[in-house]
């Protein structure tokens, strides 16, 4: 499944086009993020976006949702735990991407928006219910072809059950994680989840959900926003074959 080691001597753009053509990689809609990830989000992978508040996690999720729904046929599922899914913002992204002379923009917007399905989830058991249902539907091929699942934010659903006396919370988290991986792998989905930050040692921050979570996503990205310039930067915390990649600054207007 995972190809040979990626060597940086290939031209980034060539790699990008090649990977995207294979449809095993979904472009995120941001050229720079695609470059960082050498193509984009991989089908079959679970990608985690971690970052402090207002670093742009939801913005990236919305951008990816709008781009994937537009470029690739199929449905994008969006699980929202913070009432942050903004249809208005999706429309903005779609109109930005379109050629202003294009008279069919409205049609495109309608088509794309109708293939993004949003569900509000406020507790972990409902999340597990929904993941199971999705799995069953995909197995029996009911409904449309789902391309991507975005969960914003997964950590706010899991954090309330971690800690405390028992270990059951951890078990739930790990089970949810494996379920996500199974969904991604068996049904050719690309899954994006967001995670918040908590205090680490000596005043630093680290992604929430702890050590047992670290091994679950295939790719972990860290976002950071510099308020002075309004630039954001993404770096790779973990990736199957990309290492020590440079961080790529990108303006928040995506």
């Amino acid at each position: 499944m995972i190809e040979s080691q990626c060597r940086p001597q290939f031209n980034g753009l060539e790699l990008l086009e090649d990977a995207q053509l294979n449809k095993r990689i979904l472009s995120t809609g941001c050229e720079r993020i695609d470059l960082l990830l050498q193509g984009g989000l991989r089908v079959g992978h679970v990608t985690e976006l971690a970052g402090p508040s207002s670093s742009g996690k939801t913005q990236v999720c919305l951008k990816v949702a709008s781009h994937v729904a537009r470029k690739y046929s199929g449905t994008v599922m969006y699980f929202d735990s913070g009432n942050s899914f903004s249809p208005k913002r999706i429309v903005q992204f779609l109109t930005q991407e379109s050629d202003p002379a294009n008279t069919e923009v409205d049609e495109i917007v309608q088509r794309v928006m109708s293939s993004i399905v949003c569900y509000s989830i406020f507790d972990i058991f409902t999340l597990l219910d929904m993941l199971h249902q999705l799995m069953n539907n995909l197995k029996s091929e009911i409904g449309c072809n789902v391309r991507m699942l975005i969960i914003d934010s997964l950590s706010s659903l899991i954090a309330p059950v971690l800690g405390g006396g028992g270990a059951h919370g951890h078990a739930l988290m790990v089970t949810a994680g494996f379920l996500l991986k199974e969904l991604a792998h068996e049904h050719n989905l690309s899954i994006v989840v967001t995670n918040h930050m908590v205090a680490g040692e000596a005043g630093s921050s680290k992604p929430a959900l702890g050590d047992s979570w670290k091994s679950i996503p295939h790719v972990r990205l860290l976002l950071h926003r510099y308020r002075a310039t309004n630039d954001s930067c993404i770096s790779i915390l973990k990736h199957p074959y990309l290492q020590n990649c440079i961080t790529v600054p990108r303006a928040l207007n995506l």
Partner: protein
């Protein structure tokens, strides 16, 4: 083990597994009486377990239509239309309304934080009054719930603000010469006070209890369109030795409030205090309750001083850019700042 993540008791989980029911499919066709027999539990308990299982495996009716794959899901297109027809709660300061995209939005949780004396409670009371502005005047015509954890709600001030609001509505009428009786809804200031439900909360237990109770209260009351908690912080800043517990309780509270906002299509406004934090080499002012709370709201507004003026900064929003706007606290409530100061600034 699929059954290990079902929301049932630990002993029931254990019994299911030891009786061989390890997967959801194994439970799909078993009758309650059979299950009760196998697990040595009552039939009622077996019925409850099977209910949970059916919810998990989604054997409840699947919504028709190409795109609604699961119960309760909505397409972005439908949501867009809903959003376009929804009304915001005005803050009575047009500059502030502009950066907020019209005002405080329903179905969202908005956090407002600032130093003491900046006007958080003022804004809270203003919203509790403004939510009641009838739809004829562009408002929601709803009721307000004010949860006071600090005792800062001063009812005389609420009356003052209500009087000013009624006055504004009267002036609006006169301006537009609305002669038709149907449009004219004369609201007495005291009528505004009647639609503000006031809860005084003295401990964190009561705070959690109120938030849990709101679901029932709002279903019975109907028409509640804003829930204001002033402040969300107070009882959680002291007396908490177990910080991990505090994080869990706050996390749970945040989700409940999100759910409330979505379920009843109302706005939740949480007022927060500030604290100092050592970050990036120096002490900074930051909103209280720590890192894990900072993601618990949909929007965040920080009220601060800039020279002699009060400013509101939109720090977090899913669809709007960060921006700052000046505002003033006057005898009538929150209003636009004096004309000679800097206007709305996009960051």
């Amino acid at each position: 083990m699929e059954v290990s993540t079902l929301p049932i008791s630990a002993s029931h989980r254990g019994k299911l597994i030891s009786s061989g029911y390890t997967s959801l499919s194994s439970l799909s066709s078993v009758s309650p009486s059979r299950l009760a027999q196998d697990l040595k539990i009552s039939e009622n308990e077996a019925v409850e377990i099977l209910k949970v299982v059916s919810r998990r495996s989604g054997s409840e009716k699947i919504e028709n239509g190409n795109h609604a794959i699961m119960n309760g899901a909505q397409t972005a297109w439908d949501m867009l239309h809903e959003e376009e027809s929804s009304v915001c709660i005005t803050t009575s300061c047009s500059d502030l309304d502009v950066i907020l995209g019209g005002g405080i939005h329903c179905k969202e949780v908005t956090e407002i934080g600032g130093v003491p004396g900046i006007g958080k409670t003022q804004l809270g009371i203003q919203l509790a009054v403004n939510v009641q502005i009838p739809s004829g005047y562009g408002g929601l015509g709803g009721k307000a719930i004010y949860i006071d954890t600090e005792g800062s709600f001063m009812v005389e001030r609420a009356l003052q603000i209500a009087e000013a609001c009624a006055q504004d509505m009267l002036e609006y009428d006169n301006l537009l010469r609305k002669d038709s009786q149907a449009c004219r809804v004369i609201k007495q200031p005291k009528a505004f006070l009647e639609n503000i439900f006031y809860f005084r909360v003295c401990t964190y237990t009561e705070q959690i209890a109120v938030i849990n109770y709101l679901e029932k209260f709002i279903s019975e009351q109907k028409d509640v369109k804003v829930v204001i908690v002033d402040s969300i912080t107070f009882h959680f800043r002291q007396d908490f030795e177990d910080m991990a517990l505090r994080t869990r309780l706050l996390g749970g509270m945040a989700l409940k409030l999100m759910k409330l906002a979505k379920q009843f299509k109302l706005a939740v406004v949480l007022l927060n205090q500030v604290t100092t934090k050592y970050k990036e080499g120096s002490f900074q002012l930051t909103l209280a309750l720590g890192d894990s709370w900072s993601h618990a709201s949909t929007n965040r507004i920080i009220l601060h001083w800039n020279g002699d003026e009060r400013y509101a900064y939109l720090d977090k929003s899913p669809s709007l850019q960060s921006a700052s706007a000046p505002y003033a606290v006057t005898g009538k409530g929150i209003r636009n700042a004096a004309p000679n100061c800097k206007r709305v600034k996009l960051m």
